[in-house]
Subunit: 992 residues, 2 copies
């Protein structure tokens, strides 16, 4: 292992990195070494590499867990500014470690990093080596609350993991550390003893005092304007906090306070460091900024209609951004071309993780010319009596640069003006495209955008090259520092990773020749086909329709499926654990037999041609390690009864004001009880609900869920069952976490549904109350999903219709208020509206016409009710009588001013038509049935009388009493119909 | 610089060292990293190399001092066990750094290391590169209070110093750290800020609390049997202590307490670590032990008398051990050969730092045979009446393995025995020498001995090879793991560092051919000659008689003098500073002109052939840096008035119980006042003494003396003068520190003498009182020198004779008692006796016959008085009358029992001879003059009467009164003579 550290050090020093020593105060990560966290601030360039033994007291396992250490070794690299090719440099470093990047499957898998405590975030990847995460690769965007300019690239190697993989050992202690000395021999005793210290023996009172002393010292040093020693004391604070935490000695309140304090100090340190560096005149100078590419001024002519190829080359895009970007580029190109006069054929867009491609067929060589009239003064004012141009006409002519004699008469809207007709000459295709394509790139945006070494661009990941060809003709495109060329890039491991493209027409085939499947549909099909084929060899199938396949498709340019296996003994673990690990962590497709039973196999999809045996072995080893971990957690958890496990969740912070997860579970239990009462649950369901509520969230205290959070609920069910809880209770605990995603499964049991509602009402009411509502694309607590969940559950459980959204929210608000947090009724109304929007969205997404959605939306506080109405509405739409009724009711509403209340004196009605309407209405109202159908059955009788009334009666009669009575009658009808539907919303669609 | 660190790392890993990371808690030195301080304990092998940023808050200088940093970079190597060739490995590492060890002057200069706080010590060297200390090289003997077995070699490179030398820069900030980044650019801000923290801004109360918390945590962790985290907390303690110290916040009491506490904890950590490793079964195994060399059993024969060559090859011996060992080897060889019958000629011994050589001329090829009589029973008991052997005779014969018939009669002291005569055959010279030489090596001992990889040997430095040749014939010698061969080693940088020796006779010439001057006398002459010659080229001279030349002679095997220069502007500094730096620190010979004025030149003596320009430049740079430092201190000190400077000494610990140096200075001042009164000083001297006493030791608070301790007193005089103190006060402060060495200069002024006495009386009384008296070769406080100093001063100042040693000591004891320390009178008597022994020694060393010394010793409480008596004695020795007097007085003393007191009744005297004696005695006593001469003048009259008395009178008369009167008379005479001299001690020498 020491050779590896030396090799990395050498590699990076040869690339201009300075080497510093690990920090001589305990740090949790190399990022915290001032050589990173302070040096990334400000304009000075910085390139550094160092080893950092990173101390994570919480990971202490006495040296027993094969993959977990209280101190693990990071190798940290900072490249500031982004050199433009950090991924290539990184791959070179793997080569330097002796890793054949051609034989292995090295991938950059989306992973974004944020440390609120440091006021820092960045976008990037975890780097996978045959499925094993070996490196964190991040473009730092912010640190210490400061936006970073230039952006730094941070590369953090997990050295023990890399060594375990390279040496093929299963336990960190077995790593050959130095010739003749294993890792365990060298560090085993320290690992054990430091684990004892962190987990068992550190004195809590002492550590608390240390925390205070360090924090106070940091404060003083900030006041003395000494950011370096202040930072050291923040680090000491942080480490001490971690020790306390590992000792289980941090309450929720303390945690929140401590974090706030450390965050505040860290930000001040960063600010002060920047100030001091500025005062010192930035001793290392200022990082150079890339120059803007020269703006094209000359454009070649092309002959005949040719294909346009436009490729935007990126670093690995997040899978969902691949999909999103391909659509955006197609749309942008379509719109922008439409705004020109350039003729073209079909526009097709493709994308892989590393490129977005647009191909436009039959682009005309030039735009046609266009005539354009420029209008001057009215003809009547343009010439004097002698027919000479007036001053106005002369002025206009001068302004247009023509002789007044050239003015022509033009007629606009029947008025005669003078003016001229100008011909806009069509531009050449290359010129048109040059502008359009530049705009497309400049306007690219993602959900989360970042900056890199480009001075102006911003996107989800760096854009590194542009390729634009019209037939064989390069199209000059300049966007910020990027200039389009005629080369593309193929696999980084290819002998020639940069390839010249001869012409747009052969481009897809060229890529295909390098193994790259540009078309995502093709790629998906290949993934499914090959995975299916592989699974079949072991008598199994994969789920080719799953979203995971979409993700996989966008993680590779050249899908290369391979079948791996794992020890069948792991099948003793609950299948959900196994599949969660496969899917979420490894993006492997589970293989099942015909009876849906898991087989001890998986399909992994590597990128590009690699050595299958090597890659398979690597992926199998990763899965084995993960399953070994999971088995370890499983066995450990089974030794812990649910009640005891639940005690652990008091340690987990939920939200600063709302407290711990334990407090949240308690709120949920109380809300659920109230909802249960209101819904009138059976005795049995009530009992089930009570027990399940008492255990709510207990599995968040399990090692398994701490490790695999997505198994919350799943593990609750497993552990509860095994602890002897009734099946119904176990199921309710499982149901409680449903639905997990937008369209995911909902609870199957009533107690489960009630618990799940209570959970989400608490989430919504609580977080809106403390101001943590979603904004833009930021929804850290998943409130949109929670709102949609409420809707889904209530739709699925019409028998719970008493549990309206406002009722649920106000019940939840009571519990929040009981914690001393103010919850304004306006806020609750806002949440209810927020939930209603989710209902609206789900209907629209399901294809329900927006008029119908709008019509039933007033009923959405009880989505099941709204659903019923919608369904009845569906039945009525074809009924012409209903259309007549709707039109009549809309007519009523239109006539009656909104501020006119109901109530009228029937005696004031005199005309036969109005008397009849009055009588028919009285009868209809008396006979009104349930729901829309019931209402319609009675109300249909009103259509004719209403129409007659309007034909025969002047509503706005001059006599006030008569007018009042007529308006009152109509208002009564309006108000009677209103709760049934938003009639107006149905519009005139039915009439047509 | 980073390349250098990498090169070192690579070099040592290629030699089997493991690399660890710097420790992630602040350490003051790489030694404190557990990879050293714990791993050197116990039997497990360990070979490690690492970088260690070492934090020394006290060295913080805001980055302003060119050579001093609060964090400097050590590169640390531990080789356990000693590989047998660590110096050669080390030189290889310098080559790896790009240092041409052939061109440079690389030397191993004695430097022993001890850390009482760690319970650790070792012997070794500082390694010099052209006079610059670049590495500490130590054989660890003890750590944590444990004797180390195996011994570890510790190599600590001072990386900044090496880089400054290699890069030729004058300030650490100018070191090129990485391509394009200087050390100052990389670390300058941290250096400044951490200096601020350590010197100005660390919160004292906080740091005190931290110290307590860390210490308590260490205590708890020891109790939990966790040595690793306990050690970390001891390190944290230690760093915190250093911070407090740098802040000037540690009082003497605190310092002593803190050290005791840390020492105790560190020892416990070490003990516990060893225990735990044993419990774990020593996971790294047990270091192999060298096998003993096979004991020679076959010995070649040689023909004719040949020269014996015996060479003991060592690593660099301390200079004084070179001298000591050459004498010891010559003596041992002489004695041991004398105990054999092997004939031989002259024995000559030579030595260099790396070898001790004995050459014995004309060694005979064999011992002569020898006859030996073995005595049995008396002849009378050997045969029975029949002439047959008795049982006794038979038994004897059987025991001797002969037939009783072979018994012969032998006469011993006139008695006849039976016995046999055996012939001891002479052994061959090779066999004899094999045994003798092995013993010589095995018995080698030095003042301070160490162990290395040899399982049995112990010496001042490792013995690495033996060479023994009798003529051309190898003499097999086996001592522990060493076996003699026929090769020697020449310069390590030679192309062939190991050279075969053809025969003993040509050996010295062979060495000379490799440049090595084996004979120390020759070598010294060469040093003096070449230095003198070089000095003459600049019109100067060197002091060829100085002890420094002896030292230099023993620092090199091949003296290579070169003349260096320094900037003349440094001559503005006091010459003592300049010469102290040259002599003590650099072993350079100062060059003076005819008027004794320093010239800006020096002579350095390199070892072996090297590139003169390179080495000169290096040495000049070192001197420049040191003078630059000194100038910096000088200027800084001159800004500080003596009173203010003196405040600083309260920070300096003197001894745990006796307190700080400030307390000691206060005691000295009070003692001096009392001594002055008693001595009856003039008014002027009293004033001078008072002022000087008030400032006593103030210069120990100066930066100069802190750096160059031997300048204490010298700087006091300089600074006092410049601060406007009277010349006499300045001189008294200078005198106070005299004499500095055994025969060194004594004070020249009375106030200075009194202060110097007070200083030494305090030292002696105080340290004996607290039990810190010297034992064996250990005299850490220099008490022998102090005792000798008292004697020297009192001898030089007869007018201070009232200040007897007991008076001085009891005066000093009063001050010590005033601090609450008990001082037993018996202890004071012991000290007085200790001082008397110093006086005795100095007289004997000066050649005074021991009888005379013994005779005046009773007067040694006032050495000047004893001196006077001795001088008078010298005048009297030739006087026969005096001899008679002495004999008479001795006769008196012999006759009178010791317990007979004086006093007699003259009336009881009846015989004329006794009456006459009585009368003459009365007269003599009445006329007694001063001193021995005065006494003798009167006492001479007694010689005759005494002799007559003894001839005529029976002292032991039967009548009690008569006997009592006679004895009483004699006792009176005895007691009258006793204070003058120890008459008995003069013995009978005078009579002859």
């Amino acid at each position: 292992m020491q050779d590896a550290l030396l090799a990395l050090t050498r590699y990076w020093t040869e690339r201009g990195a300075m080497v510093v020593q690990p920090f001589n105060t305990e740090v949790g990560a190399g990022t915290l070494n001032p050589a990173t966290v302070l040096r990334v601030l400000g304009p000075e360039p910085w390139r550094v590499a160092y080893v950092e033994p990173s101390v994570r007291p919480d990971d202490a396992r006495y040296g027993e867990n094969p993959n977990r250490l209280q101190t693990h070794t990071q190798f940290q690299v900072i490249l500031k500014p982004d050199p433009g090719n950090p991924q290539e440099l990184y791959l070179g470093s793997l080569q330097a470690l002796g890793i054949d990047v051609g034989a292995h499957d090295v991938r950059f898998v989306e992973d974004n990093w944020a440390s609120p405590a440091l006021g820092a975030w960045g976008l990037g990847w975890e780097v996978w080596l045959d499925g094993l995460e070996i490196t964190q690769f991040t473009y730092f965007q912010q640190a210490g609350g400061q936006t970073l300019d230039p952006v730094s690239v941070e590369i953090t190697y997990g050295v023990e993991r890399i060594m375990m993989a390279l040496q093929g050992v299963d336990h960190f202690k077995d790593i050959a550390y130095a010739p003749g000395i294993s890792y365990g021999e060298a560090f085993g005793q320290a690992e054990y003893e430091m684990s004892r210290f962190y987990l068992d023996d550190a004195d809590v009172e002492t550590q608390r005092r240390l925390f205070e002393d360090y924090a106070a010292e940091a404060r003083r040093l900030l006041d003395a304007r000494l950011p370096v020693p202040a930072h050291i004391h923040v680090l000491k604070c942080s480490h001490t906090f971690n020790v306390l935490d590992a000792r289980g000695a941090v309450s929720t309140t303390e945690r929140a306070k401590a974090f706030a304090r450390m965050r505040g100090l860290a930000r001040e340190v960063a600010g002060l460091w920047s100030e001091r560096r500025a005062e010192l005149g930035h001793p290392l100078g200022t990082a150079p900024v890339l120059e803007a590419a020269p703006v094209p001024t000359e454009f070649a002519a092309v002959e005949g209609a040719r294909t346009l190829l436009f490729e935007i080359g990126t670093e690995e895009l997040p899978p969902h951004e691949v999909t999103r970007t391909v659509a955006a580029v197609e749309r942008a190109l379509t719109d922008k071309l439409a705004a020109t006069r350039l003729g073209h054929g079909e526009i097709r867009a493709y994308a892989t993780p590393r490129r977005v491609i647009a191909l436009v067929d039959a682009v005309e060589p030039v735009e046609p010319d266009a005539e354009r009239t420029v209008r001057g003064p009215r003809a009547s004012a343009a010439f004097d009596a002698e027919g000479n141009p007036t001053k106005a006409a002369a002025g206009f002519a001068r302004g247009q640069g023509i002789d007044p004699a050239e003015l022509r008469r033009v007629e606009v809207d029947g008025v005669e003006y003078v003016g001229i007709t100008r011909t806009d000459l069509g531009r050449g295709a290359v010129e048109v495209l040059s502008g359009v394509l530049a705009e497309v790139v400049a306007e690219l945006r993602a959900d989360k955008n970042m900056r890199w070494n480009d001075p102006k661009l911003s996107f989800t990941r760096p854009i590194r090259w542009l390729l634009a060809l019209l037939g064989e003709q390069p199209v000059p495109v300049a966007v910020s520092a990027l200039a389009a060329g005629r080369t593309t890039r193929v696999h980084r491991t290819a002998a020639e990773p940069v390839v010249e493209v001869a012409s747009a027409e052969g481009y897809l085939e060229l890529l295909a020749g390098h193994g790259i499947v540009a078309d995502q549909v093709d790629r998906r099909a290949r993934v499914v086909a090959s995975a299916t084929e592989l699974a079949a060899t072991v008598g199994g199938v994969v789920d080719g329709a799953s979203a995971l396949v979409d993700e996989i498709t966008n993680l590779v340019e050249e899908p290369n499926a391979l079948l791996g296996s794992f020890d069948a003994r792991y099948l003793e673990l609950p299948a959900d654990i196994l599949t969660t690990v496969m899917r979420k962590h490894q993006r492997y497709l589970p293989v099942r037999d015909a009876d849906e039973n898991l087989l001890p196999h998986f399909v992994a999809v590597a990128n590009g041609a690699c050595d299958h045996d090597t890659v398979r072995a690597g992926n199998e080893a990763v899965l084995r390690a993960r399953y070994e971990d999971a088995s370890f957690f499983w066995r450990a958890d089974l030794r812990t009864p649910p009640e005891v496990m639940k005690e652990g969740i008091a340690k987990l912070a939920f939200e600063q004001k709302l407290g711990s997860v334990a407090q949240r579970a308690d709120r949920i239990a109380r809300i659920a009880a109230r909802l249960g009462e209101t819904a009138g649950l059976s005795e049995e369901d009530t009992a089930t609900l009570g027990r399940a509520a008492a255990l709510a969230k207990f599995d968040l205290g399990s090692q398994m869920v701490i490790e695999l959070t997505s198994l919350a609920g799943t593990m609750a069910r497993e552990y509860a069952k095994r602890a002897g809880e009734p099946e119904a209770v176990a199921q309710a605990l499982y149901d409680m976490e449903l639905p997990r995603t937008g369209g995911g499964a909902v609870p199957t049991t009533v107690p489960g549904a009630v618990l799940a509602l209570a959970d989400r009402f608490d989430l919504l009411a609580g977080l809106f109350a403390v101001g943590a509502k979603p904004t833009g694309s930021s929804d850290p607590f998943g409130l949109r999903r929670a709102g949609a969940g409420v809707v889904a559950i209530l739709r699925a459980f019409p028998r719970l219709r008493a549990l309206t959204v406002p009722f649920g929210l106000s019940t939840a608000a009571e519990r929040v208020r009981a914690q001393g947090i103010e919850v304004d009724d306006a806020v609750l109304a806002e949440v209810a509206e927020f939930v209603k929007r989710r209902y609206e969205q789900v209907l629209l997404d399901g294809g329900t016409p927006h008029e119908q959605v709008a019509a039933v939306l007033p009923l959405a506080d009880a989505p099941a009710v709204a659903d019923g109405t919608l369904s009845e509405l569906g039945g009525l739409l074809a009924d012409p009588g209903f259309a007549g009724l709707v039109a009549a009711l809309q007519r009523v509403r239109r006539i009656v001013p909104a501020d006119t209340g109901p109530g009228y004196d029937p005696a004031a009605l005199v005309e036969p038509a109005e008397v009849e309407l009055h009588q028919v209405f009285e009868k209809a109202r008396a006979g009104g049935g349930v729901g829309l159908a019931g209402f319609t059955a009675s109300a249909n009788a009103l259509t004719e009388p209403i129409n007659t009334f309007f034909d025969a009666v002047l509503v706005m009669a001059p006599e006030p009493q008569v007018r009042a009575a007529r308006l009152g009658l109509l208002a009564e009808i309006r108000d009677w119909a209103a709760p049934v539907l938003d009639w107006q919303a149905l519009g005139t669609a039915l009439e047509a």
